[in-house]
């Protein structure tokens, strides 16, 4: 069966510090991968998605970047965090075209 992992689970970082969040998927090949941000326990904002190694699409201009160095690994990064980067970050994977997305447990990021 497929599983999705995210780490760390929680993170507190000062403004201006770098960020690296990692997501890995097991039990599937060539999945579509997604990074979402959820603010204040409400709606999800799609940040990035990837349909293959090295292929990244950005949905919103921002302080963040994403990379996919391996088929089942998706990394969210920032060189300098802003206060507004605080939130709950969710990684998800899915298979086109009919299938649902499956979400990881999330990372709670607090920027102070």
């Amino acid at each position: 069966s497929q599983t999705i992992h995210q780490w760390p689970a929680t993170l507190v970082q000062p403004v201006g510090s770098p960020l690296s969040l990692e997501c890995t998927v097991e039990g599937t090949s060539n999945p579509n991968l997604y990074w979402y941000r959820q603010a204040a326990g409400r709606g999800l904002q799609l940040l990035f998605y990837s349909v293959g190694i090295g292929q990244i699409s950005s949905e919103v201009p921002q302080n963040l970047s994403a990379s996919r160095p391996q088929d089942r690994q998706f990394i969210l990064s920032s060189k300098k965090l802003l206060l507004s980067d605080s939130g709950f970050y969710l990684c998800a994977w899915g298979e086109m075209p009919y299938n649902e997305q499956f979400f990881g447990p999330g990372t709670r990021l607090t920027v102070l």
Binding site: G43, Y49, S57, L90, F103, P105
Partner: protein, 114 residues
């Protein structure tokens, strides 16, 4: 462009009563529709989906949803609510075979009162 509306920010229902969480959508082509549930500080869990076929879709934990093309709705229902159903519920839509991405609604918080 795709969009999803969940007109109720909060739904309160007594335990044992039926519940409905509303969702309406807008897409250009055929909609693929999904419901997810989120418990505090957790990721989203998939409940059910509509791709094609029978308009009444049954999913996990006794939930079901009814697709209504004329009203562009996909309401989530359960015949008898449990206190443990209290959570945040999200409706999502993908636009047929052309859409890579989901569009999520803003979420509806369901509280089931004992």
């Amino acid at each position: 462009a795709q969009s999803v509306a969940q007109p109720e920010d909060q739904v309160n229902v007594a335990e044992g009563n039926p519940l409905t969480v509303k969702c309406t959508y807008s897409v250009s082509g055929n909609p693929y529709l999904f419901w997810y549930v989120q418990y505090p500080n957790r990721g989203l869990q998939f409940l059910l989906k509509y791709i094609t076929g029978d308009n009444l879709v049954k999913g996990s934990y006794g939930f079901e949803a009814e697709f209504n093309k004329s009203q562009t709705s996909f309401h989530l229902k359960k015949p008898s609510a449990l206190v443990s159903d209290s959570a945040l519920y999200f409706c999502a839509v993908r636009e047929g075979n052309y859409g890579q991405n989901f569009v999520f609604g803003p979420g509806t918080r369901l509280s089931v009162l004992p």
